[in-house]
């Protein structure tokens, strides 16, 4: 009996520490700032344990039964803690902290009750000095073991969710063992056993289903209702809706919000096209959502628009789906529009056709594959497809959050022989966003926007070309294929911006 209870203390102590470590690690992982997360989680947890120890004085009778119930509660709460926290985080940002500290407090209180109860179960067999010394030494030993195992073995191999579930199972095992040990003194020990097995079943199911759970929470992470999801060979397309706000995510990255996308797409298209009254042929690279094409179609003199986007399912969705095609005003159904599903650079290399305007709407250079689409080589190939009087416009990340990246794109396009003119606009869901005009001759700002717009007009246009000091950079580097300098700088800048 005595030995068995000391083993239980060891297990309980390990479990208690694991939940604390998982909460600390998960919160610093998700929220960043690990010093704050760990300090506050550990502080809260220790304080809660103190509260628990204090509360244990109010338990006078049927200590074994109470111990078993608490053990099962710790097992379930602690076991599912990582999963709960993860789901909460996916559901909503802010309440996450409240739930985090609530959960940590609750587990801390329960764990705080446990040890005093065990000590009282043992007090009949041992002297006080012996009791305190054995229980505390076993307690600390358990703590040492898991604090070593967690970073080395558990977190990397099992992950947070499964680690906490596994230790939840250990807690339940202790509870079931206690049922067995005290079966003579517990009146309805069958019920306690059934309860224990039920909890065990839940945890086992959680352990097995952990992967599905993750996928579910990932889907829910977008916050708003998901109205459309599609996994294509190229990306995961998710469309969410909250009231009248549609948001498109590709691989979890926000592409537009229907509330302010007009700001982005008007800024992308009109500064170039308003100065090209004779444009006939326009090429759009990326932009499979058809929004840029919608803006282009406002110019009746444009005869042909070629949209090159990698993903056929993306362009098909935005062409045929009743909700989505409404967002782009049926632009992809226009007889003027030809959709080509191809890898943009490869397609351009194989083509000789030239255009009056080229709209480049690629994702930001978050990896080396995308970095190629911002290289000297890319702009050289682009230049071959642009007519001498023509204009190309490139979406170029945020000059406010990533000024070095923005101006490196400028340097790179210049190295390819282009004249460049930068401008920027505020798109609330993105922040201050940057664009770059590329041309053979110097660009002249238009005096008016000849088509209907919601955001741009002649009065505001000149202000877009003014860069405040905090959007400047004196970076000299060029993004070449052999240095991929942009991806590195971009990662640094956004790494610092995304806290």
């Amino acid at each position: 009996m005595q030995f068995a209870l000391l083993v239980s203390v060891f297990v309980i102590a390990s479990c208690g520490l694991i939940y604390e470590l998982v909460a600390g690690a998960l919160s610093s992982y998700l929220l960043g700032d690990s010093i704050t997360q760990f300090s506050t989680v550990i502080g809260t947890y220790l304080f809660a344990m103190g509260v628990g120890s204090w509360l244990s004085r109010h338990i006078h009778v049927r200590i074994a039964e109470r111990f078993i119930i608490i053990e099962i509660m710790v097992g379930l709460l602690g076991g599912f803690s990582a999963a709960i926290l993860f789901l909460c985080f996916a559901f909503a940002g802010e309440p996450f902290r409240i739930i985090l500290y609530f959960l940590v407090s609750l587990i801390g209180i329960l764990v705080g009750i446990e040890i005093p109860l065990v000590m009282r179960l043992l007090e009949k067999d041992l002297k006080l000095s012996e009791l305190v010394s054995s229980v505390l030494s076993v307690d600390y030993l358990g703590a040492l073991l898991v604090s070593v195992l967690f970073p080395l073995l558990l977190a990397p191999h099992l992950g947070f969710v499964r680690t906490s579930l596994l230790f939840g199972i250990f807690n339940i095992a202790v509870a079931l063992w206690a049922v067995h040990l005290f079966k003579k003194t517990i009146v309805h020990h069958g019920r306690y056993r059934a309860l224990g097995f039920f909890a065990l079943l839940l945890l086992l199911a959680g352990f097995i289903g952990a992967e599905k759970l993750m996928r579910f929470s990932e889907l829910k992470m977008y916050g708003d209702d998901i109205v459309y999801t599609q996994s294509t060979p190229y990306q995961r397309i998710v469309l969410t809706r909250w009231r009248d706000d549609f948001r498109l995510y590709l691989n979890g990255n926000l592409q537009f919000s229907s509330r302010d996308e007009y700001r982005y797409h008007e800024s992308l298209v009109h500064p170039a096209l308003a100065t090209l009254p004779h444009a006939r042929d326009v090429l759009v690279l990326g932009g499979g959502d058809g929004m840029a094409v919608r803006e282009l179609l406002k110019y009746s003199h444009i005869e042909r628009i070629t949209l090159v986007d990698l993903d056929p399912q993306m362009t098909e969705m935005f062409k045929s789906d009743s909700v989505l095609s409404k967002l782009n005003n049926l632009s992809l159904q226009s007889p003027k529009v030809t959709v080509v599903n191809a890898d943009a650079l490869k397609w351009m290399e194989a083509q000789a056709q030239s255009y009056d305007a080229i709209v480049v709407d690629f994702p930001d250079p978050t990896n080396y594959a995308l970095g190629k689409l911002y290289s000297v080589t890319f702009y050289q190939i682009l230049r071959r497809h642009l007519r001498p009087q023509g204009l190309a416009v490139v979406q170029t990340t945020s000059p406010l959050y990533a000024p070095k990246s923005y101006w490196m794109v400028n340097n790179t396009a210049r190295a390819a022989g282009f004249n460049t003119t930068g401008y920027h606009a505020l798109v609330p869901t993105f922040g201050e966003w940057g664009f770059m005009l590329l041309s053979e001759k110097a660009y002249q700002q238009p005096t008016q926007i000849p088509v209907p717009t919601r955001f741009l007009n002649a009065a505001i246009l000149p202000t877009l070309f003014v860069f405040p000091q905090d959007m400047q950079s004196d970076i000299q580097e060029i993004n070449r294929l052999d240095n991929q300098a942009l991806v590195r700088v971009f990662e640094q800048e956004w790494g610092a911006a995304l806290r």
């Binding site: 993750m214 890898d343 993105f430 052999d482 995304l498 806290r499």
Partner: protein
């Protein structure tokens, strides 16, 4: 500013961390593998064996040509290129195989072009003048070919990130071990790098660099020949460089270029490897290299096009009879299976030296080099996540093989879910003869199992992702510059016959593009001079 302020068009920290953290949150799981199938290829043995046994029929007809080049590897192709750019077009360039290229052979499947051998060319220094001329002719070098740092076609410069090493359970950038190694290893690597820089600057009494490439442009100062008497391992130990980490790096490097490590390679050759390159580029780092999906195959393709009128593949030189006025060469045409006698004024032997005595019994004695056998495997790999395979060249620290290059790395394609990985393995742990036997005797399955075992450390799921492995066995892949190799070069570089020139990297004793090209051009120059 709205609530979604911090977005990368637009990713929030939340999405970003969760997107990349599935593995950490959940841990990994594994499934049982199965072996992919593929081709087991190699040079045409039937002709090689027939050559060795002298089993060819007698010639049925006779034709005349002023110049005959036997072998369309790098040396033969460059000999032809030099003749052509000097106005000589009346020659024939024979190749035993059905395609030109020799060790620079390349292939192509539905996913990508890929190399079967030599896969890159370091930026040429000013001593590699002919390499620069060639690159300018092929459009790869732009502007002044004599500039210290010329401009190169960006498409051919290796794209970043170029090299990575899997060490202590993680990838690091670059191939020199840096992460998680001890202080003494770090210190020795620094000492080694400093020493190599110092030797790289060293010049002989004649004012030339001791180590340069092509090596014939180096100093003739005999003082440095002592370096050819010992192995590079002994030399490193004399410098008190004993760290295992450093020795692994040196061994990896030497096996990559010479097919053998420092215990077999001469100290002269070891120093040459680390000290001979001074190439720079106006538009790249100085340690950059030129490469393409098919490795150096792009050079072979462009030269083959230029030399199309003269190039005859599937034609093997089987007998040479050298006379005072002419050379009579019997050539086997594998398409018609007949032997033609070609009478020429000049013959260029642009094939490995060990074959020459088999076709020319009356030749003067030479000492051919030892050759290292190689295995090259092309793995077609599917369902690739972009972040898994980022670099061009990936090497596993203390791995069995020499790592692999991603043949799709140089393409401009954005979406590359399928790749061809070219895996290199030199059989350097055995003596060349035994190694050759093992190379040819082992089955496709044996090699495949071995390759996966080697790569598993870094890529535990590769077997599941791999749909095909094609293997190419090179029994005589490259000359090994063993101690004393410099003195045996004299026998190889002698004039064997006034009408027969040898053009091959065997004349330098190291199997490198610049060396092969140098001897190809030199043979052409001798012919032009006569």
């Amino acid at each position: 500013m709205g609530s979604g302020a911090a977005v990368i068009k637009g990713i929030t920290r939340r999405d970003f961390l969760i997107g990349s953290s599935g593995a950490l949150l959940l841990g990994c799981s594994e499934q049982a593998p199965r072996l992919p199938s593929g081709l087991l290829l190699g040079p045409d043995h039937s002709i090689g064996h027939k050559l060795r046994d002298g089993q060819f029929p007698v010639a049925t007809r006779e034709i005349h040509t002023p110049i005959l080049i036997a072998g369309a590897g790098i040396a033969g192709l460059n000999c032809g290129w030099w003749l052509q750019r000097n106005g000589i077009t009346d020659f024939q360039l024979l190749e035993l195989e059905l395609v030109a290229g020799g060790n620079t052979r390349s292939g192509q499947n539905a996913v990508s072009a890929f190399p079967w051998g030599a896969h890159y060319l370091p930026l040429p220094g000013t001593d590699a003048h002919y390499v620069r001329m060639l690159l300018a002719d092929l459009g790869a070098l732009q502007g002044d070919i004599n500039a210290l740092a010329p401009t190169y076609d960006e498409r051919l410069l290796v794209q970043a990130p170029d090299e990575r090493l899997f060490i202590n359970g993680a990838w690091q950038e670059g191939l020199i071990p840096r992460v998680g190694i001890g202080a003494s290893a770090k210190r020795e690597i620094q000492q080694f790098e400093a020493l190599m820089n110092e030797w790289g600057e060293r010049k002989g009494a004649d004012g030339r660099y001791v180590f340069t490439i092509p090596s014939a442009m180096g100093s003739a100062d005999p003082a440095f020949l002592v370096l050819d008497k010992i192995t590079f391992k002994d030399w490193l130990q004399q410098q008190n460089l004993r760290s295992d980490v450093l020795h692994w790096y040196v061994s990896y490097s030497l096996r990559d270029d010479f097919g053998a490590g420092q215990d077999r390679v001469s100290a002269w050759a070891g120093l040459h490897y680390f000290c001979c390159r001074r190439g720079q580029a106006a538009n790249a780092e100085s340690n950059s290299v030129l490469t393409s999906p098919q490795g150096n195959g792009w050079i072979v393709e462009r030269l083959s096009k230029i030399l199309q009128p003269q190039l005859k593949t599937g034609h093997t030189l089987v007998r040479i009879d050298a006379q005072f006025n002419s050379v009579s060469a019997d050539v086997y045409d594998s398409a018609t299976q007949e032997v033609i006698r070609i009478i020429c004024e000049q013959l260029v032997w642009a094939a490995p030296l060990f074959v020459l005595p088999r076709v020319w019994p009356a030749m003067p004695h030479i000492i051919p080099p030892d050759y290292a056998p190689w295995l090259v495997a092309n793995l077609t790999v599917n369902n690739i996540e972009e972040h898994e395979f980022t670099a061009w060249d990936s090497v596993i620290y203390q791995g069995q093989g020499l790592g692999y290059v991603d043949s799709t790395h140089q393409t401009l394609q954005f979406h590359r879910p399928q790749r061809v990985l070219t895996y290199y393995h030199t059989l350097s742990n055995l003596a060349p003869r035994e190694a050759r036997q093992q190379l040819l005797a082992s089955s496709h399955e044996t090699w495949t199992t071995q390759i996966f075992a080697d790569l598993r450390k870094a890529h535990p799921h590769l077997e599941k992702q791999c749909s095909a492995i094609d293997l190419w066995r090179w029994p005589h892949a490259m000359a090994i510059p063993v101690p004393g190799f410099r003195s045996s070069l004299l026998s190889r570089q002698q004039t064997l016959h006034p009408r027969i020139q040898v053009a091959h990297s065997d004349l330098s004793g190291v199997s490198l593009f610049e060396e092969a090209q140098y001897w190809g051009v030199k043979a052409a120059q001798k012919i032009i001079a006569t």
